[in-house]
């Protein structure tokens, strides 16, 4: 037990679970701290928070936090969360998913939960592979990268999850990294405070599965890549297309006021009661 407890400690569950399961240098623990700080800053009560997840390294997060926690099936965190929210709209839901979980098998649920603009926050940790199962490629693996199922290099193109979420109907979309942790804290707070569907993509290193196969086994190197390979929106505006080539943009891309699903549902119930045969 640390003699000096980190501030976030009061939100962690069962001291005996630590040290946690994630590899040295994995960024998921960094994100967990950021989420906890956001919950604290927003003044949410632990009893009102539901953390849900799918399957994968990121999805191991719920067991470590002292909230209502729901570790579901692969890709389905948002579908389970939809039921939770409908049953008890007072609950604040944070769904944490990996890139494979959210964008491959879970892609359909991401589209429709965003389309409904149901009030919850979806966090997609993007480490460019399926880490837990040994490092197979995912929809965000960069072209040419080596993974356990792309021994000759990835041939599939990727897509932009933030674009997808925005066009599907999310009312808040942002991208950050675990290197830029202060910025991430702010993004998460805004996302979680927002009434509506928020998506935050978080770039994170996976030294063990992805890094090792791509000459980046060192966690520090991977964090440096996040530092040097990304720019914020202000910087991006000033850069020429050649300069932006190969860089990933961080920032809040989308933040609009839009009717949330349960608001619509309430209106529906009002209409239904009027037309009901008494």
């Amino acid at each position: 037990m640390p003699a000096h407890l980190p501030y976030e400690y009061k939100y962690l569950r069962h001291k005996k679970k630590f040290p946690h399961v994630w590899c040295p240098g994995c960024g998921i623990g960094i994100l967990m701290g950021s989420i906890i700080r956001a919950v604290d800053a927003l003044g949410w009560k632990k009893d009102d928070v539901v953390m849900s997840s799918g399957i994968g390294c990121t999805s191991r997060m719920p067991v470590y936090v002292d909230f209502n926690t729901l570790h579901t099936t692969h890709g389905r965190a948002l579908a389970f969360s939809t039921g939770v929210k409908l049953a008890n709209p007072e609950l604040q839901i944070v769904a944490v998913m990996g890139d494979g979980d959210a964008l491959a098998i879970g892609g359909n649920h991401l589209i429709h939960t965003a389309r409904r603009n149901l009030d919850m926050t979806a966090i997609v940790v993007n480490n460019s592979n399926y880490g837990m199962t040994g490092g197979q490629f995912s929809p965000t693996t960069p072209e040419g990268a080596k993974t356990s199922t792309t021994p000759y290099g990835m041939i599939e193109p990727t897509f932009d999850a933030c674009d997808l979420a925005r066009s599907a109907g999310a009312s808040f979309v942002a991208r950050g990294t675990v290197y830029h942790v202060m910025e991430l804290d702010k993004f998460l707070q805004k996302a979680m405070r927002k009434k509506g569907f928020s998506l935050v993509e978080v770039l994170s290193p996976c030294p063990t599965s992805f890094g090792r196969r791509n000459k980046q086994a060192d966690p520090v190197k991977m964090m440096e890549s996040l530092r040097d390979g990304t720019v914020n929106t202000a910087q991006a505006k000033k850069m020429k297309p050649e300069e932006l080539e190969g860089k990933i943009v961080r920032g809040i891309f989308h933040d609009i006021e839009k009717k949330e699903y349960l608001e619509r549902y309430e209106e529906l119930c009002a209409r239904a009661s009027e037309t009901a045969v008494k």
Partner: protein, 93 residues
């Protein structure tokens, strides 16, 4: 909204450098990833032979909190002048 938790002194006798340090590293949770050491703006930390992070230059610490925030393992705490573990005022809206 600042919350304070009073830091208790470590039971075992720490190295002298740690006694006055604002930064504390809990070796049982540290996995030796090196992130805190690499990105400390003041080079306060060093990797030890035991593959754990150590506080080498506590006097240089400016309490930026980046080591604690970037530690994936919750193995680092940063205290204020009075030794309290606080969240920064105004850090969050």
């Amino acid at each position: 909204m600042a919350e304070k938790a009073t830091a208790k002194p470590a039971k075992e006798s720490p190295k002298e450098s740690e006694q006055v340090s604002s930064v504390h590293i809990f070796p049982e949770w540290c996995k030796g990833c090196g992130i805190c050491v690499a990105f400390c703006p003041k080079q306060v930390l060093e990797m030890g032979d035991d593959q754990k992070a150590h506080v080498a230059h506590p006097e240089k610490c400016i309490r930026c909190y980046l080591c604690a925030r970037r530690c994936p393992d919750f193995a680092i705490t940063v205290a204020d002048e009075e030794g309290n573990i606080v969240r920064e005022e105004g850090d969050h809206q």
